[in-house]
């Protein structure tokens, strides 16, 4: 592969922890990501059925607007792009290596599973009230009971489906 492939995950993780501290200190905000998908879905629905969205309890709770976290999520894409381009690791890659080795070069097959996985994951994240960022990182660093329960359940669910698709079939 490429020469400069990355940093130690310990170092990168620790530095990202400093970002969290700064964010809590200066803005009073803890990292999260999944609420942004709710707000974005609401913004899209609002284009077609504004009256209906205005009355839906979940969109009243999580208003379909651009907020701090929404900008964080966009920023993650930009930051990743900057890191990838400056280290020469940016590469358009329609299929992950592991996936291709197991399921072949069909992009359609990957798209269907990723799409279904996305629906399930986001439904679960909203029910749990957070994802690996909101519950895992932010809940974890605050020693929140909810964060650790969620984190354990995330991994149990993930181990189940990852094992089914990679170890369950044939071999």
């Amino acid at each position: 592969m490429k020469v400069n492939d990355g940093w130690s995950p310990y170092l990168a993780g620790a530095l990202s922890g400093l970002v969290s501290i700064g964010s809590v200190w200066f803005v009073g905000k803890y990292l999260g990501a999944s609420t942004t998908f709710v707000r974005s879905a609401g913004m899209m629905e609002k284009i077609f059925t504004p009256e209906r969205v205005a009355k839906m309890p979940y969109f009243i709770k999580e208003a379909p607007i651009i907020d701090w976290q929404w900008m964080v999520v966009i920023g993650i894409a930009i930051g990743s792009f900057i890191a990838a381009v400056t280290s020469g690791t940016f590469q358009i890659k329609p299929l992950p290596d592991m996936w291709e080795a197991k399921f072949g070069p069909s992009i359609k097959k990957r798209a269907v599973i990723a799409f279904i996985g996305g629906i399930i994951a986001m439904f679960g994240a909203r029910l749990a009230d957070g994802c690996p960022s909101g519950h895992g990182l932010s809940g974890g660093l605050q020693l929140a009971v909810s964060g650790y329960i969620a984190l354990v359940c995330f991994f149990i669910g993930g181990m189940l489906s990852a094992n089914i698709i990679y170890k369950g079939c044939d071999e």
Partner: protein, 175 residues
């Protein structure tokens, strides 16, 4: 407006470190779930330990406040398991999907589209869930130190040693 700018800067820094830590890869996320490569766990726990020390130190100085999510056993456990199952299929979580796209992993687009649909479905189901799952076992906004009835540093310091031991074990076993 300033808050939005802070959000963007925070996101850019976070995305930068996620990319450097090789966390934004389907292969790494799935390998963690198959217990073959603990890169994402190393990243997450390093983040948690550093931020935990910093935030609780600032809390002791009265400079910051905690922002806890309530511990509702029904929704956190059921939702967590559902999330996990979808995560194992998608191979990206909500935050890392955008980061993966940023480094050129175009398969994240399908996941992002799915997650928007998932959020819309949840918004439809919310009034029903609010009366059921979201009421099952609500213990409120609690932390582990509160649960144990001890000062937070009595939890933080053992936690650091535990994570250190875990990291040591990962390295010894080539994870």
């Amino acid at each position: 407006m300033a808050t939005l700018m802070y959000g963007l800067i925070t996101g850019i820094l976070f995305g930068f470190f996620l990319q450097k830590g090789r966390v934004l890869r389907y292969d790494k996320q799935i390998a963690a779930l198959l217990l073959e490569d603990m890169t994402i766990v190393k990243f997450m726990l390093s983040h948690i330990v550093v931020a935990m020390i910093g935030v609780y130190f600032l809390l002791d100085l009265g400079l910051v406040q905690l922002s806890l999510k309530p511990t509702i056993l029904g929704s956190v456990i059921i939702g967590g398991l559902i999330f996990g199952f979808g995560w194992g299929l998608l191979g990206y979580c909500p935050g890392t999907s955008l980061g993966a796209l940023g480094e050129g992993r175009t398969d994240a687009i399908w996941g992002i589209a799915g997650m928007l649909v998932g959020a819309a479905i949840y918004a439809e189901a919310y009034p029903y869930l609010l009366k059921t799952v979201l009421t099952w076992g609500n213990y409120g906004k609690i932390t582990i130190p509160q649960l144990l009835g001890v000062n937070h540093w009595f939890v933080i310091i053992p936690f650091i040693f535990l994570v250190g031991a875990l990291f040591n074990w990962f390295e010894k076993n080539g994870l």
